[in-house]
């Protein structure tokens, strides 16, 4: 019915129906409340319009009524809150099996890097039916990753990671917008999400000669000298990084934090912020020595160390550590 005049964008992710359901509920609820109120107003206005000789009747008010119309809306509001919160919780906790895409936003483009190494600009190919987690950061100002068809949006901030995820359910090409005002070409910072059938997607993937992110990261890990301290045994001056990602880490000051993407990123840029228990704060900062992309690759590599290894990555020797994939609720920290 609304083909030429749609009231909502395409529903192309697993999250979309849930969001629309709440939205439609709210439309109906507000529609009902508005109509109710307008009806009363118009009815009273007509019925009690001024007539000669008829005086208004003075009414004090009614505590019972007041209570009714405070408490009932309050419960309605609570219900809306719970519903909205449930959706939000889902949006902000990526499933564990999600494939990861690193996103770097800058004025005014989107740069993507797949775990398999494919890089894209302003266009992102994803397979249908697969959970995809976006690990995003910005090189300059705040941007916002917005795909209306997926009903996802997340601001992308400089200096840290933010995370969002989606599972596309319908092949097609969808708008990608930058939703946070970011300067002159804010409205030009748009792109496409290409959702493909898995087979097609595989074909697309094998089209390029990309180096997987983790592998690129491994090369960096060697060339930047990380390996000199982080060795695959316990002899290094730094902690063995195998099996670190996604696990809780005990810090020197007694706190325990989860080694999520943000933590690994911070460890590289700002090693002094959180010292691992039992180690000296000798790790130099790599701030300014690595680009955002390289940083992403390093993080991908560190995380790959306890995944079932990607096909091409040679398994680091003496690794017995295993598989439960890194995950984690998105979490942020003041950098």
């Amino acid at each position: 019915m609304f083909n030429n005049f749609p009231l909502w964008p395409e529903r192309a992710s697993s999250l979309a129906p849930g969001v629309d359901a709440l939205y439609i509920f709210l439309v109906i609820l507000s529609g009902f409340m508005s109509v109710l109120i307008f009806a009363f107003v118009l009815f009273f206005a007509a019925k009690y319009r001024r007539r000669p000789g008829v005086l208004a009747e003075q009414i004090e008010g009614s505590n019972a009524l007041e209570l009714t119309w405070s408490i009932i809306p309050m419960f309605v509001f609570l219900a809306i809150f719970v519903w909205g919160a449930a959706l939000y919780y889902k949006m902000r906790t990526p499933p564990r099996d999600a494939t990861e895409v690193y996103v770097v936003a800058k004025q005014w483009m989107w740069k993507f890097e797949h775990a398999e190494g494919q890089r894209e600009i302003n266009e992102l190919h994803v397979p249908v039916g697969q959970n995809v987690k976006m690990i995003m950061t910005s090189q300059d100002v705040i941007h916002s990753f917005f795909v209306p068809a997926f009903r996802v949006k997340q601001d992308v901030l400089p200096g840290r990671y933010t995370i969002t995820w989606f599972k596309a359910t319908k092949p097609g090409t969808y708008h990608l917008f930058c939703a946070e005002y970011c300067g002159s070409q804010h409205s030009g910072m748009i792109g496409w999400i290409d959702v493909m059938e898995p087979a097609q997607y595989q074909a697309w993937l094998s089209g390029g000669t990309a180096i997987p992110a983790a592998q690129a990261g491994q090369q960096l890990f060697a060339s930047l000298g990380c390996v000199t301290c982080h060795r695959a045994d316990t002899q290094g001056r730094g902690p063995n990084l195998v099996g670190v990602a996604g696990k809780p880490v005990l810090l020197e000051d007694g706190r325990t934090v989860t080694a999520d993407d943000e933590y690994i990123r911070e460890s590289i840029l700002n090693p002094g912020a959180k010292i691992v228990a039992g180690f000296k704060p000798i790790m130099p900062t790599f701030q300014g020595m690595v680009t955002e992309e390289q940083l992403n690759e390093l993080v991908a590599y560190v995380k790959s160390l306890n995944q079932t290894p990607l096909n091409q990555i040679p398994k680091p020797t003496s690794v017995t550590q295993n598989n439960s994939a890194p995950s984690g609720a998105p979490q942020m920290q003041v950098q």
Partner: protein, 229 residues
């Protein structure tokens, strides 16, 4: 004081008030409301400080321990003394001691200037040590208690940014206060204030005490926390 008879003729009573009591209450309520806005004004900075201090506790401690504790303490004492002189000025006004009033006001100004002078010395030291945020900033301290753990200079720079903003805003308030007292001292020497009318002295006093209280918090927050070795 028997004001009720005076009220009608009191030259200080402005036309739109019915009585002196009303006018006095209005002006002190107004002054307190103004101080509320000041609380919130500094509150924004305290909020920033709280957030970053908890996030980068060690780095901030490192930066904090480069501040000159001796000068900070002296300044605290100076400011507290000036609060005493102000309250004495109000007392002098209340009891109609005009000479004492002028004297206390002048004393307050001197103490205020002394505070600013010491602050100036401290600022100058920051410039020498390149502890002023900006392109020339340089910081190489270690986190207190962890001598081999260098503090992150970026966070130290944030500490000094906050240090300058907070003490700077405080100093601006002091300068305004000093100006105010200079004006009041001049008027007082002309006999403008009597036990029946000294609202300006009272309100300026409130302002000064408020500025003092801000410092009472700034001092421990900036200078003292995690100071020990």
């Amino acid at each position: 004081m028997s004001d009720s008879e005076v009220a009608v003729h009191n030259p200080a009573l402005r036309h739109h008030f019915a009585e002196v009591e009303q006018q006095r209450n209005a002006s002190s309520l107004g002054m307190w409301l103004f101080l509320v806005t000041e609380v919130m004004f500094f509150g924004g900075m305290f909020c920033a400080y709280l957030v970053y201090r908890t996030a980068h506790f060690g780095d901030f401690a490192a930066a904090s321990s480069t501040l000159d504790l001796k000068l900070g303490t002296i300044n605290t004492a100076v400011l507290i003394l000036s609060s005493l002189t102000v309250v004495m000025a109000v007392w002098a006004a209340q009891t109609g001691k005009q000479k004492a009033l002028v004297m206390y006001l002048l004393l307050t100004i001197v103490l205020g200037l002394a505070f600013l002078g010491v602050k100036g010395v401290e600022y100058a030291e920051k410039f020498e040590k390149h502890h002023v945020p900006g392109p020339t900033f340089h910081f190489a301290g270690a986190i207190p208690g962890h001598p081999d753990h260098p503090a992150d200079p970026r966070h130290a720079e944030m500490f000094f940014s906050l240090y300058f903003v907070m003490t700077g805003m405080h100093a601006v308030h002091m300068i305004i206060g000093i100006g105010l007292f200079a004006f009041l001292a001049f008027k007082a020497s002309r006999g403008a204030y009597t036990p029946a009318y000294f609202t300006p002295i009272e309100n300026a006093g409130l302002y000064w005490h408020f500025v003092d209280i801000i410092w009472i918090y700034l001092f421990p927050l900036l200078y003292l926390i995690d100071r020990h070795k």
